[in-house]
């Protein structure tokens, strides 16, 4: 294991040094490679219990993860400035939402020569690569949010748009016409605004104060493209 060999010589200078500066004095033996970790702003104490969750039943694990995902859904639906999404990030929620959205956006086309296959992949690729691009942009602008935290927030904030998709599919069961379109348009616009407000509430604090607009604008474009896909969806 790692042993702090030489750093014990100067304990008095510990306080003004940055957080992990003492690690450079620890000598690491050869057979234990130390690999990079994802830095998170607030240390969570859940890591200590990780080894003990290996022996619990599958049902416990699934229920615990589902509860965590559900709690984050609630945080997205009622966005307040909180750290829950950032502190305990996970990518299950975004995956569930993305798969649901992609499945619903598949065209059940019988008379078109293109089948519904590429639609699923298109939505998937757009959601994930869009999220990655926005994350890189916000990091390059000087944000101090980690890569996966940002992916987590952006993915969870697709929830209002998924709800809009469900509503649109229900509305499309009625007869088509301009009223149909207006209802769908209104629902999608409201959910689009909700997504942006939710993601702003979580992401804005991590940016330098004068560059918030620069970081929020690509989020706006991203949710606009997803809203466009939802609004123009018509099953045949």
């Amino acid at each position: 294991m790692a042993k702090a060999a030489e750093s014990s010589g100067d304990p008095g200078t510990a306080s003004p040094r940055p957080l992990f500066a003492g690690l450079s004095d620890i000598s690491i033996s050869q057979d234990i490679p130390v690999e990079g970790e994802i830095t998170i702003p607030m240390r969570s104490h859940i890591r200590e219990f990780d080894s003990s969750t290996l022996n619990e039943s599958v049902q416990n694990t699934i229920m615990r993860d589902l509860k965590a995902v559900g709690k984050k859904f609630m945080h997205v639906l009622y966005p307040r400035k909180s750290n829950t999404l950032l502190r305990d990030w996970d990518l299950w929620g975004p995956l569930i939402l993305c798969v649901t959205l992609a499945l619903m956006l598949q065209r059940s086309s019988i008379d078109s020569e293109k089948d519904g296959g590429p639609q699923f992949a298109e939505v998937f690729v757009i959601v994930w690569f869009g999220a990655v691009t926005i994350t890189l942009n916000s990091k390059l602008l000087g944000g101090n949010i980690s890569f996966f935290q940002s992916l987590c927030v952006l993915g969870y904030c697709i929830l209002p748009l998924t709800v809009a998709m469900l509503v649109c599919r229900l509305v499309l069961l009625a007869e088509p016409g301009p009223i149909n379109f207006m209802v769908r348009f209104f629902v999608v616009i409201v959910m689009f605004a909700w997504s942006i407000v939710a993601s702003t509430a979580f992401l804005a604090d991590s940016q330098p104060p004068n560059r918030k607009a620069l970081a929020i604008y690509p989020v706006f474009l991203f949710y606009f493209v997803i809203s466009w896909m939802i609004l123009t969806f018509t099953p045949q």
Binding site: V34, S112, E122, L140, N210
Partner: protein, 347 residues
């Protein structure tokens, strides 16, 4: 090994050994995104030290292997056992060295901090650069300054993609979203990157003073005019309006880019070649974006629903050209009456 380690480490962190890089990556808040560096290499260790360490670690393993090989191989054992041990060690050392090199190269290229200086902008700067991209400057005697940033151009390309997608939105029709979206993204990024590279190559031939980054920024900001024109004309489908905007707005942004390039090039032939090419490509791209996507949408509408009435285009054609005014109203009335299946009272 140590000699090849030093330049790579120096290129990344500016200091010699890997300890410096390790500290930087842990302390800063704005360091590399993807911390995938493998930290199992100790600093300043030379090839011989690594060899010694590995030899020590593998001694028990090698002994066990040699003992197992002894029972299997029979009389070829002596020489082969020794050679196998040596070759295994050498292979292992080469593998470790190669892995270290690869991880260092990967962390060097996956380190997005290279791009960080190009995103160092304020919203006010972006706004002023957007407005300036529409104002051609007359001074061409000394090189004009081009801001080398990538945030504005990248956001403008994404906005252009979004506007293209918005322009294809109609109600009650099937739109092949997948193909169109891929095409839109490919077109916009392909134009930005491809034409920038091509003009940069021409600039290199014509001896113009411009770098690749500046060319990317210049062309990116030139897309602001395209965004405005397309946003307006996708909502108001008047061809005359489009031509007016194409000349005015497209022309302004092209003139600005041309003026900047002229100020950085010497010689009339070179100026003509460079600026002519850029102007032609820029204006033709706007034409292409407007007409190609219109045609696609109209084509889909025609094949799926029968001839629709596109706004403000079909009505004049239904009226015969040379018709006295008295019979004009009846002809129109007939056309309308046919649609509602009511016989007209007067002929």
């Amino acid at each position: 090994m140590a000699t090849t380690a030093a330049p790579a480490g120096g290129a990344r962190s500016g200091a010699g050994p890997e300890w410096g890089g390790f500290e930087e990556n842990i302390q800063g808040g704005g360091s590399a995104v993807i911390d995938m560096e493998n930290m199992d290499d100790t600093s300043g260790s030379s090839f011989e030290d690594m060899g010694e360490l590995h030899q020590r670690l593998r001694e028990e393993e090698v002994d066990a292997d040699a003992a197992a090989a002894e029972e299997e191989d029979g009389e070829f054992l002596g020489m082969k056992g020794f050679k196998g041990q040596l070759s295994r060690q050498v292979a292992d050392q080469m593998w470790q060295a190669g892995k270290r090199q690869a991880s260092r190269a990967f962390s060097l290229y996956a380190n997005i901090d290279i791009l960080r200086p190009y995103f160092d902008v304020e919203p006010a700067q972006v706004r002023s650069r957007l407005l300036e991209s529409m104002i051609p400057i007359k001074m061409v005697n000394f090189p004009q300054k081009i801001a080398g940033e990538l945030y504005g151009p990248l956001m403008l390309v994404f906005t252009l993609v979004a506007i293209l997608l918005h322009g294809m939105k109609t109600s009650d029709t099937i739109i092949r979203e997948g193909t169109l979206m891929g095409t839109a993204i490919g077109t916009c990024f392909g134009y930005w990157l491809g034409v920038s590279s091509f003009i940069y190559f021409l600039a290199y031939l014509c001896n113009a003073q411009i770098t690749m980054l500046q060319m990317l920024a210049l062309l990116g900001y030139g897309l602001f005019g395209h965004c405005i024109v397309l946003f307006v004309t996708y909502n108001i489908h008047l061809h005359a309006l489009f031509y007016l905007f194409w000349l005015l707005v497209g022309g302004l942004s092209t003139l600005r880019m041309v003026a900047v390039l002229v100020s950085r090039t010497v010689g009339p032939t070179q100026r003509l070649l460079l600026c002519g090419t850029l102007a032609a490509l820029h204006m033709l791209f706007l034409l292409y974006l407007h007409f190609a996507y219109h045609k696609v949408v109209e084509g889909i509408l025609d094949t799926l629903e029968g001839p629709n009435i596109p706004p403000m285009q079909r009505v004049p054609r239904d009226v015969p050209a040379a018709l006295p005014a008295a019979r004009l109203s009846t002809t129109m009335l007939n056309a309308t009456a046919k649609a509602v299946a009511v016989t007209p009272q007067s002929h």
